[in-house]
Symmetry: C2
Subunit: 152 residues, 2 copies
DNA sequence: TGTAAGTAATTGTATATGCAATAATACCAA
DNA sequence: TTGGTATTATTGCATATACAATTACTTACA
């Protein structure tokens, strides 16, 4: 590859790379939620897990990881941190001794309730920043990715 | 907040939360690039920095961080890792003794050249996965975020 | 029924990320 | 000029993230 070609490729990567874009977007958006949730000592990533667990009732790690496209080892440690803080508890599972399903504790539920108004604020800020077009397309992509995962 | 209300809020968060969406998208897309780049022992996050440095010639950390919405402390350590591998080098800066501008080494440049075809493959996979609508809108959002940063 | 293959979760290791505090330098204004 | 403020980068600390290897258990099949 000669210098000219290389420069052209660099330009293409710099201006078009989708990894750069989504990663930057993730940093920017995460920051908005983290700032809003900081008084509760809660992070956006942790709220994700609390909400999913609340919705599931009793959450099995593998199922939650497929839903969120999250590595099980990542979830394992995140859950452990939240368990130590008393937000989650592991529930005994008779049917499969390998499973370590978990659910919200009362404290976790209270925390989540306190987080709701702050989440709404962050959500609105982000919506304004991104605009409805991006928000709607992100929604479609999100559902598509979840289908893709469960279908495979 | 009563139980009904809380459940409705949980549903809203689970189905609409923009942080959940962009973070998941970031994980999915990053994985595609990381897998493609793995034979080069290079990660998407590192390629971002190499490309930006290559484009800038001599990159000043603060400037690069504003461009990518990256914390300076994050960049500091990422650069250090890449410096240890011989991909980047810090260049002396006479005008401001605080500055630690850096640039690609010859090895860094070679690595980046090797990464180009792999990047193209990952980019194409991702484009197919997301569709042109999302890709184009992400591009607009990206430029908008870069403007917002440089304007402030 | 007993073993081989598969599955669930954890642990070791490494990178990425950001906040708070700090150190060193630059700039500005009285 | 000097004293306070702003800027640049690094470091301590904590969390998030994923891959590879491992452990423990389950399932299938021969």
């Amino acid at each position: 590859m000669n210098t000219e070609e290389f420069k052209a490729n660099l330009d293409a990567i710099a201006t078009e790379c989708l990894a750069v874009r989504v990663r930057m977007l993730s940093r920017v958006v995460t920051k908005i939620y983290d700032e809003e949730l900081r008084p509760l000592h809660l992070k956006a990533s942790q709220m994700n897990i609390l909400v999913a667990a609340a919705k599931m009732g009793v959450a099995r790690p593998v199922a939650l990881c497929e839903l969120l496209h999250l590595d099980v080892s990542t979830l394992s440690r995140n859950v452990e941190r939240m368990r130590q803080r008393g937000w989650l508890e592991v529930v005994p599972e008779a049917e499969d001794a390998r499973a370590q399903p978990f659910r919200l504790t009362a404290e976790g539920r209270t925390l989540l309730q306190q987080a709701v108004p702050r989440w709404k604020e962050a959500q609105e800020k982000t919506r304004r920043m991104l605009g409805d077009g991006v928000v709607n397309l992100l929604g479609k992509t999100f559902k598509q990715l979840q289908r893709a995962k469960t279908a495979s």
